[in-house]
């Protein structure tokens, strides 16, 4: 009896993962102790997990489109991760009819779904709840993988869908997704550039500056509540901080000369930045609370665009000390400087939140493209983003995606893509540049 069950489970696994597994008729999971399992992997391509996302149930509040909108947003988030194939568009799971729900889930399983996500939206006053129930459809028991409820102000109820999608990614990968995030960027023409932000998928644009001046290079603080940026609002390129909750703008650095290309330390308390107050562009670290600065580079070449490793122990930056600009890494004391990129004209380094990779921009034959290199300088490679210039990459918090600017359509637009260059989606434009992908929102 037990033996039959084991074989059946093996077959289900074959059905789900195909060539990725080798099972050869033997049990996949035969426990000898109470908590031990035996598994196999065989070399093969990663396969996507099929997940059914029916229209969300609306328990109270919302309008006729709420259930469908939330399911659509969640489905789009899941599909964007590259980990899931989404089967969407059916009517809600009848949660007060267990037999009907079981039947619908069984239909999803028959259609090839490995999992199903049911959402329930409940509005109470100006608060909205989004409950998710994630079901396993790879065995007939239809077990609940996870059940969780999120709460948001009604005005931000779309974020419930993003939070649910991020939780589904956590359940299947061990790491939260990047859907509940914003992308800040610069928009405007020469002479007037303001900073805006949109949801990572392009929804909900808001303006963060409106001073009629030139505002450049926004960078999110790790708390996702504020950004550093360079502005000419007082006539000089000085460094400021804006707060999402519209507190007054804070001046961070206004030394003589250039104050630019800020990069936050992982604890959000310090900024690495480029200053030319001592004559030549050098990299300094500014303690935001005390205003104390310490100089990291001392070289006749131009050193700029610092970006911290997530451990805070290293900083990558651009230097033209060898003639053309290249990417270098140094310890956060300014010591142990080493060049990590070869060839070309390389700028805009951005250290990935996971710490293993650095994205940067290479100019070759007058065309800009985005490249990736391992933090130790190995495995330098170009991302194939197609025709046009691609520049100014910014990592998603899960390091699976990049935001960047591209001019393929004739005007600069901000796009997102997978970190291998595929699945490009336009999120802002025209005349949109310098994206900064926020950490997960508070």
């Amino acid at each position: 009896m037990v033996r039959h069950r084991l074989v059946a489970l093996s077959l289900l696994l074959v059905g789900c993962l195909g060539a990725a597994l080798i099972l050869s008729g033997s049990p996949v999971s035969h426990a000898q102790g109470p908590s031990e399992v035996w598994l196999n992997v065989q070399r093969g391509g990663a396969t996507k997990l099929n997940i059914a996302v029916p229209v969300f149930t609306v328990a109270s509040g919302g309008d006729g489109t709420t259930g469908k909108t939330l399911a659509d947003v969640t489905a789009k988030d899941l599909s964007f991760t590259g980990l899931f194939s989404v089967v969407a568009g059916t009517s809600p799971l009848p949660l007060n009819d267990p037999e009907g729900a079981k039947k619908l889930l069984a239909e999803f399983a028959t259609a090839g779904a490995h999992a199903a996500l049911a959402g329930i939206y409940t509005q109470r006053g100006d608060r909205a709840d989004g409950e998710m129930r994630l079901y396993d459809l790879t065995s007939p028991e239809q077990r609940v993988i996870a059940r969780k409820t999120f709460e948001m102000p009604v005005a931000q109820s779309r974020r419930l869908a993003h939070k649910i999608a991020d939780e589904v990614v956590l359940q299947f990968t061990g790491e939260l997704g990047s859907a509940d995030t914003r992308i800040a960027f610069v928009r405007g023409r020469p002479g007037s550039k303001e900073i805006y932000a949109v949801d990572y998928d392009g929804a909900g644009p808001t303006s963060l500056t409106s001073n009629g001046s030139i505002n450049l290079s926004p960078v999110w603080n790790p708390d996702a509540r504020s950004l550093a940026f360079t502005s000419y609002m007082k006539g000089y390129p000085d460094l400021y901080r804006i707060f999402v909750d519209r507190r007054p703008v804070q001046t961070l650095a206004s030394f003589v000369g250039i104050n630019s290309s800020p990069g936050w330390s992982p604890d959000g308390r310090s900024l690495a930045l480029t200053l030319s107050k001592d004559g030549n562009a050098e990299i300094y670290v500014l303690n935001v609370a005390t205003g104390a600065i310490r100089r990291l580079t001392r070289h006749i070449g131009i050193d700029s665009e610092p970006t911290w490793s997530p451990t805070g122990r290293q900083i990558a930056f651009v230097s033209d000390r060898q003639g053309e600009p290249h990417i270098y890494v140094m310890d956060d004391e300014g010591t142990n400087v080493r060049q990590i990129t070869r060839g070309g004209f390389q700028t805009q380094p951005r250290w990935s939140p996971k710490g293993d990779l650095i994205a940067f921009t290479t100019r070759r034959g007058g065309v800009h493209s985005i490249w990736i290199v391992a933090a130790d300088g190995s495995n330098q490679r170009r991302l194939d983003t197609g025709s046009g210039d691609a520049e100014s990459a910014s990592w998603s918090p899960d390091s699976r995606h990049l935001a960047f600017q591209m001019n393929r359509t004739g005007a600069w637009q901000v796009y997102t893509m997978h970190a291998d260059g595929s699945d490009q989606r336009q999120v802002a434009g025209p005349d949109a540049t310098s994206p900064s992908w926020s950490p997960r929102l508070p």
Binding site: S35, W38, N40
Partner: protein
């Protein structure tokens, strides 16, 4: 003892998928197999990864071990599974007649 002690097949598939994504075995002419053993804590963290049965090929063993380390963190253990950790014996099989 039966499979129903850990009937959360979706969880095991997730482990297989994550490890498979990170596994970069060295090219080998002959069929090669190794088994790595490790534990997953309640919150999905990796504990005590070790080679349990060597393939006799150090590079292959190390690539298998590295796949586990690179694949973590894993998802939190299923709520219905009440024990503090799950021990997994993961076989790495490289056959020569495919990919």
């Amino acid at each position: 003892m039966s499979a129903s002690d850990f009937p959360f097949m979706w969880y095991l598939q997730t482990i297989q998928r994550k490890v498979n994504e990170k596994w970069a075995p060295p090219a080998r002419a002959a069929e090669t197999n190794a088994v790595v053993v490790f534990e997953i804590g309640r919150d999905g963290h990796l504990k005590n990864p070790a080679v349990e049965r060597s393939s006799g090929d150090t590079l292959f063993d190390q690539a298998a071990l590295r796949a586990i380390v690179d694949a973590h963190p894993f998802p939190p253990l299923p709520e219905e599974f009440k024990q503090p950790a799950l021990k997994i014996h993961l076989g790495f099989n490289l056959s020569t007649d495919r990919g």
